[in-house]
Symmetry: C2
Subunit: 308 residues, 2 copies
């Protein structure tokens, strides 16, 4: 089934302990759709400026991503982000943010996008997320991402949109901030009472936790020896998760389990190189092999029958 | 099979956001043996002072822990530790440490302890750990724990003992400190080159990672809504892991998988109450039920056959 994503496209400047990459393709919708398009047909809504390199647009087209919702602003400048990672790679220090055309972004869905069954509202202003929801018709599953900025300063709008979605993905710090709880399980319960039936808490190199009314699932991150650039890992994870759900048509806990592992699989590729470099080259058999590595990493037998 | 542990017994004073407990039973050998004795026969080597409450000794006896290696120093004072946890419970702030009789601890193994097949050297001075190894005869598996103090100040002795053990358990910060690597997988590889065939990296609320030459295994921690006091969770984990290995007689990766999950199961009980309160009451059927919760939390199906 098809998957709609609304989010940012950006030109990043990234520095890690292993190197620098100016003018790197970035943005939540970019990582999400490069990841998800390996699994299901993707429709993208985002905004870029006149400076946005045409080669990136071509690359997305080659992935058969539907770009009819991609708005290019004549004379405009693309959203830019510059960041730097220290030795532990866990958190980026933002050096510069220029919203540019993203400041006036008004997501407009082409008519045929309005019936997309799987919808993901990447991290943008909750009022824009609401505007997208006004434009879609009875989706099967709506996922949403957010950040500390909206939790702190646009709480009313965020709470409004949370009532109308199925699955919230956010990182652990954000979950605690949104809920006011310092315990992750309590935080997830509190957030579920705000609307989403499913809460997925992202924990970076420690993986991700799934909570619904009756299930808890833990997806680990793969302990890679070479983590090169963690930029976009969370959006890649969400893309893999939503892409797998859309591919299989599932929405229940059993599907979410495999979907989250697929998200972790894709995230583990993204961090191996700058930008979407690795997502560009990764193949189906490679996804399959790494999925099996995750099985091997997590599998254990039941206790013997006579254990008590 | 039998399991020997050499470590500390202590009187702790603990403060968490949920309450205070002065004069609490603590120490690495205490948590380890209370945990392991639910799974296999335990032999304990430790030292206590004259002030050590007899009721604790009785409790260990009721667990059928062999206490012939427990030395009580007449007129001596038991090792004391005071610590406090903040809201996130991840790390204790040490308020006071009094080594007392522990300062002059010389582990002496009763003759029948010397042939114990499973041996665990809890976190004590590496020179003492070496002295224990001099006293045991061809053990099947030797596990060892250590800490930043010995990594920083007794490195030569620590490297000596590492050459002679099978499995090192240590937390992530310590693994990075010991190896000089900021990446956990690289750190584990570097540590394996120092001697231990198996490295188990403890990550607190994020679980634990197993590394040997060919396998990686991830055991998650259970996201409990009520974490009351994390003191002793790591030693409880090690006790559950080693206790399960001793019970089954296994030493390979498949046994370590279940053993680490059992360690996480026991750790999840310990943190529910102060000191060893929960370890005192937990039953075999409770362990069994929580083990099944860990299965439910980690299980996911293989990809469909036609996935590529």
């Amino acid at each position: 089934m098809s998957l709609l994503v609304v989010g940012s496209m950006a030109i990043d400047s990234v520095e890690t302990p292993f190197g620098k990459r100016p003018e790197a393709l970035g943005g939540s919708a970019t990582f999400f759709s490069m990841s998800a398009s390996l699994l299901s047909p993707v429709r993208l809504v985002a905004v870029i400026g006149q400076d946005f390199p045409e080669e990136h647009v071509q690359m997305l087209k080659e992935r058969r991503i539907d770009l009819q919702g991609l708005e290019r602003v004549p004379g405009g400048k693309t959203f830019r982000w510059a960041g730097k990672y220290g030795e532990n790679l866990n958190e980026a220090i933002t050096l510069d943010t220029q919203l540019n055309v993203f400041a006036d972004f008004k997501p407009r869905l082409p008519e045929h996008f309005r019936d997309t069954p799987y919808v993901f509202l990447a991290n943008i202003h909750p009022k824009l997320q609401l505007e997208v929801l006004e434009q879609v018709r009875s989706p099967k599953l709506v996922g949403l991402d957010t950040m500390n900025l909206w939790i702190n300063h646009e709480r009313a709008a965020l709470l409004e949109v949370l009532k109308r979605i199925d699955c919230l993905t956010l990182n652990e710090t954000e979950a605690k901030l949104l809920s006011g709880e310092s315990n992750v399980a309590k935080a997830a319960r509190a957030i579920r009472s705000m609307g989403p039936k499913v809460v997925v808490v992202k924990r970076g190199e420690y993986g991700a936790l799934y909570f619904d009314q009756t299930h808890i699932f833990h997806a680990p991150a793969y302990p890679l020896e070479q983590v090169f650039d963690p930029t976009g890992a969370g959006d890649t994870f969400a893309g893999g998760m939503m892409g797998y759900l859309a591919r299989t048509g599932g929405t229940d806990a059993a599907h979410f389990r495999q979907a989250m592992i697929m998200g972790c699989v894709l995230g583990s590729f993204t961090v191996e190189a700058f930008s979407v470099d690795r997502l560009k080259t990764v193949t189906g058999p490679e996804l399959n092999r790494r999925f099996k590595l995750f099985r091997a990493m997590t599998h254990f037998e039941d206790l013997p029958e006579d254990f008590a």
